[in-house]
Symmetry: C3
């Protein structure tokens, strides 16, 4: 297996073997974080980070990752780049991508729902960059997917159900475990990318998946369909409920997070205000201690930042079964592994 | 003495022995700037810089410091981070700090008077980060203190009264010298942090301290009280004058700089405009050649940027007794020493 | 020949021997990009990048260059620095430059036509920094010149007329070749710096130079005069035409790019809107396949970003005789060579 040069737009497009190799390398990099054989992997090499949307954690973890591999990540904001769009002049993706391929070992792109005029445009942009680039394109979260978060999620869950954080990862421990992906209320209009990636990679690794959300908060039908297929291929169960409690029964991993509704875009506009108002009408949709008692001593997971008091109570988020900081730490390790596997050797 | 893991919020909270160890290491790092034993200290490690307020010199010197120690400093602007405050939703300091502790070797924070709604809030924020973080918090200037500037100041003054810049630092030479901290006029509303830190560390190291400012420009009473106590412990003199000339008599170090009045905050607002107007009414409060003649062949010091023509004349700022560039350079060396002592070894 | 400490504001101020040494080192760095003897040149050293104007390519290539030499480039935006100007208070260039000289190995400055109130002010600023700095000042494009682009241009052209990209550079192959610098239309108001530098360095290296532009689009008369002199010293021809086709006859290198008119500044304002409107009135001024047929199998060159469809057709820009990506890549290599020659050894 050779991942050199491969793009990572969603984990669904990597084989299970490739995902496991990445997780295994990430675990070794976590255990032996500054070992000599890791700190020279991107020595003197550059990784470009394109932030159409700002971010703290993603920027911190990617820039750390490059530094720990001996290289350097450049923080770039494409708004000052004036790329050509349907309505405005500017440099074509072809020109931008071809030049960047001469300079760097890889390119990360972050573009979320409020920077595009329709769901899927961010994904299209990543694929256009991937088409023209000679270097790997890595999603740093876009409107559809968030593969690095997905890998960090399953790495954290595997640690909690296996040997414990920092002791190595054996994804087989997730086989047959139940993942509940539950909508959370709050004054937010959050992307689908993190939850969709979690559904995909959880089901790939043999988990039962239950989606729970109020009527009107459907996710991308294609992603739901893929998740169903993944479950079917592993002989696992997939279900959807619109009850805020039901899905908790027997859950091993509880992922409670807000997401926007499919009505968020109208005539090319992202209706943030309207989404925020709507999302406050469902105060029942919070992960709390009472609901967690219904689970099978489940762990609480979240990609952060958390909207405490809306998506989840403090009691749960800071409780003894919360894996949030371990998952957040794992962003660093999986990203180092991805960069090492796809970008080293140039 | 082991400083590993220690926060640095003000020099007043470090022992005299700890401060001298830091100054000594800084002097060695200045003399032998790129020696092998220094350039690997933070190899592949990350230092986060949180700039609530922009800055050029502080950013330049901290980012250089990390680079020269073999690591990397990330330039982060928390305004895009939406931290939870009394009035707005957002990520808690607990969550932010706990995750950053997984990624980095240390965290620097800069937050000045115009980014808070009352004096002391910046200091509280640093202490909240220090509470939740597993990594050292270093002030890169906040509303109360500026420890790195204070260390750079006394390093520069010690060089000038000792063996000369770059020849090593023996803080004992400052014992019994007179520090004049004089208010300067100008279209500004500057923080108290630099002058307060200078008073504290100057008095710690055995200097006489005289404060000179127009009526109505009192500094933090608690800091003044600490300074008095420091002087008393060293059997040195402390005084306050409201005459623009009197304090110069016999001064060895003249620190002329503008600072805002205690009336700068009203109802949670920082009244910059009002402060600026008020500050222009005292044209006598400028450090000039005539006043410097009253001193004991004193040196002129300032943390920069200087408001030439208001705080000080060109004649003095660019004169043969100005130590401003040496002090500015020392920011780099003391910050390297601080990072080495508190962050290396993780 | 010792270039250590030298500023680079325009190639016209470096000797032909110095330019050839730089090109030769750039070619060796391109061929053997990550060789040990190159990756330690700026080890642990800092290069400051001052971006008065944003840029993607220039920032990417300079930051990569520092990384590949083992150092680090700091991305700085001086708008937050409040330097003293005729009308506003702030830090003097003297103070800023003297402190930065203590921290860094070199300083790059980018300041284009829309950040100054009259043509030439950007150049003056660079020279003021050069006056006060102890470290080399490198233009990263300013209102008059763009020396790094000029060097990348001739490196690319030499590769195409010599041994091929990446096979080394022998500038002698440009001797006697004809360079056409042609104005291009479009909704733009672009700087003179790139085309002026190309005229200067092309003529230095023995090329015939023809300028082609509509009446009213004269460039800096002093630069035109220098170009004429360079041509005369090499016994080469210099000409100006206002016909959009004529200059193509016999051209070996076709440089088609928009530039603003000399009327762009009025009363200290940069009239971008007016320039853009005017520039759209000349649709004939586009480099297309038909015009290229008039050339001597010429190559197409452009400093990018390209305004495709206005300055040049897609057919030509993406055609088999387009050297744009090689020239863009060469920015990296010539900048590494410049930094190595002027900044290493401190």
């Amino acid at each position: 297996m050779n991942l050199y040069g491969r793009d990572l737009i969603t984990t669904q497009e990597w084989s299970r073997n490739e995902l496991e190799t990445t997780l295994d390398l990430a675990a070794r990099m976590k255990r032996d974080r500054f070992a000599d054989n890791f700190t020279n992997i991107l020595q003197n090499k550059t990784f470009f980070m394109f932030f159409y949307n700002p971010s703290v954690r993603t920027r911190q973890s990617f820039e750390c990752a490059a530094t720990e591999l001996g290289g350097h990540a450049q923080f770039l904001e494409p708004k000052s780049m004036r790329l050509k769009t349907a309505t405005s002049a500017g440099e074509t993706v072809e020109d931008a991508a071809k030049v960047m391929s001469r300079y760097a070992a890889g390119l990360g792109i972050r573009i979320l729902e409020d920077q595009v005029s329709a769901y899927g445009e961010g994904d299209n942009l990543l694929r256009e960059y991937a088409h023209w680039s000679d270097i790997p394109i890595v999603s740093m979260a876009h409107d559809k997917y968030h593969p690095c978060q997905g890998l960090a999620d399953v790495m954290g869950w595997s640690e909690w159900y296996g040997r414990g954080p920092g002791k190595g990862v054996d994804p087989v421990v997730l086989q047959g475990k139940k993942l509940l992906v539950a909508w959370g209320h709050g004054a937010l209009a959050r992307s689908w990318c993190s939850v969709q990636e979690a559904m995909l990679i959880g089901s790939r690794l043999g988990m039962d998946v239950t989606l729970a959300y109020p009527e009107g908060y459907d996710l991308d039908p294609a992603v739901v369909e893929w998740t169903k297929q993944n479950c079917a291929e592993n002989n696992r169960e997939f279900g959807i409920t619109h009850d805020p409690r039901e899905g908790y029964h027997g859950a091993h991993v509880v992922y409670s997070r807000h997401w926007m509704s499919p009505q968020a875009y109208q005539n090319g506009e992202f209706l943030k205000k309207q989404e925020i108002e709507k999302a406050l009408h469902y105060p029942d949709w919070i992960c709390d201690g009472e609901k967690m008692k219904l689970s099978d001593n489940g762990i609480f997971t979240h990609p952060m930042p958390i909207d405490r008091g809306h998506e989840v109570t403090d009691e749960v988020a800071s409780g003894s079964r919360s894996c949030i900081y371990d998952v957040a730490e794992n962003r660093l390790h999986v990203q180092k592994a991805i960069m090492a596997l796809t970008m080293a050797g140039r």
